[in-house]
Symmetry: C2
Subunit: 255 residues, 2 copies
């Protein structure tokens, strides 16, 4: 059988063993990613069945399956036997802790509350601009909030978002919203967070931080700097969090 019409994967017709070789299922995966990015299927919705996709891309079901397998392994898609394959969403109880790794020491799920301290539009500081791949002249949304668990102030977040994407994000709209922030980003701004990188340090609380977190000044805090990415590894959020780790800890698994 000759090469698949999708693309000539090797560069010449009959396997010249040349530069870039991309398996068919990777190309399918790329096409699926594009459809997800373009919003052809929204978070929470089902994508077409494997057989439909196989017909659409003119490949076998097995090849589509392998592409979907990888996207499911990366948590972009969710397979449900008998029902279909669904676009991952942050509007789900079980997914709530995919990005928040702070866990109560005693395991009891806490009652959480959020207080918006500030939300304004400013010119991007140099470090934030670099992380978000913007120019320093570009506008960003800067928001600060205090999260409490069981009424105890626990997380102080300082969040930066690209201004052109997150127009209309205000203290009021934030205060009205109940649920995870990434759910709001999905529904209101069409931004799906797909992956994040965190850098973690121990720092001493400043006076201001200590006051907000009801702590002694100089007390130890876990500093978590996060950059979150949408489809295509485009950075969409910088978040600097300060965690009080007296009744909670940051949980991580190593494989």
């Amino acid at each position: 059988m000759s090469n698949h019409p999708l693309t000539d994967r090797t560069g010449s017709d009959r396997s010249a063993s040349s530069a870039a070789f991309s398996p068919l299922y990777q190309q399918i995966k790329g096409l699926l990613l594009q459809s997800l990015d373009h919003g052809e299927w929204k978070p929470g919705e089902a994508i077409p069945s494997e057989l439909e996709l196989a017909a659409r891309f003119q490949v076998s079901q097995g090849t589509v399956r392998k592409a979907i397998d990888e996207l499911a392994a990366e948590n972009l898609l969710l397979r449900r036997q008998g029902k279909g394959t669904f676009v991952a969403t942050h509007h789900e109880a079980k997914v709530r802790f995919r990005f928040l790794r702070l866990t109560p020491d005693d395991g009891k799920p806490p009652v959480s509350g959020s207080q918006i301290l500030e939300c304004r539009r400013v010119k991007a500081p140099a470090d934030i601009a670099a992380l978000l791949e913007l120019r320093t002249a570009d506008m960003v949304v800067n928001m600060r909030r205090l999260l409490s668990f069981d009424q105890i102030p626990t997380i102080l977040d300082d969040i930066w978002l690209p201004g052109t994407v997150f127009r209309g994000l205000t203290t009021e709209s934030l205060a009205r919203y109940r649920g995870p922030l990434y759910g709001l980003f999905e529904s209101e701004f069409g931004v799906s967070m797909v992956r994040a990188e965190e850098k973690i340090r121990a720092v001493a609380a400043t006076k201001d931080q200590a006051d907000l977190l009801k702590l002694g000044a100089g007390g130890p805090l876990l500093q978590v700097e996060r950059v979150s990415y949408t489809y295509g590894d485009r950075p969409m959020e910088v978040r600097r969090g300060l965690y009080v780790t007296e009744r909670f800890h940051y949980k991580n698994s190593l494989n």
Copy 2:
């Protein structure tokens, strides 16, 4: 075609849709895990080819492949096209940072040094015994060490190991050894660390800790409590590390 002879996967011959259903490839995976655990193939060695394993287990190559795929995804096996499939080992430069997530801020790989402070055999304290699934009467090896990067003291480790498994581990044998500790565990004690769970906190340094780490007392430290597991999720190490995060940070990826 009737059920596979390995086990009757459904409980009755013709799919009674009953309690426990385990796919064939999961059973194969279990058998491979057993062989790994029993040391049939040692770390760094190649396991038999997919076709050989298929013949041995009387299944198709595709089924063996799927079992191996999962073990490779869990980093227990390592596939190398054209060469074979190998048992993962901690004796490898590229695997050195699978468990150590502390990374230099500037990205330059540091020169590392290790100093053994103490190594003794004691009765297991209650908390350690619980984590290692031992009785408090059982003996454990307790070792403390100081790791330096670029001559700067950076990590203070307090390590606990089950005494029956790690006989003959002494300050001298540790001092002689160059390389990652988990490599030593593999070669000398036949213990492969396969997975670990970490709980991370920010704490203030005590006087003793500050002295060893050349820090001001009360300074912030990253406290990392790790439990490491071998095959079969058997806990084999408890490690309490204190990290200085001035020039280094703990790196984590969220998916």
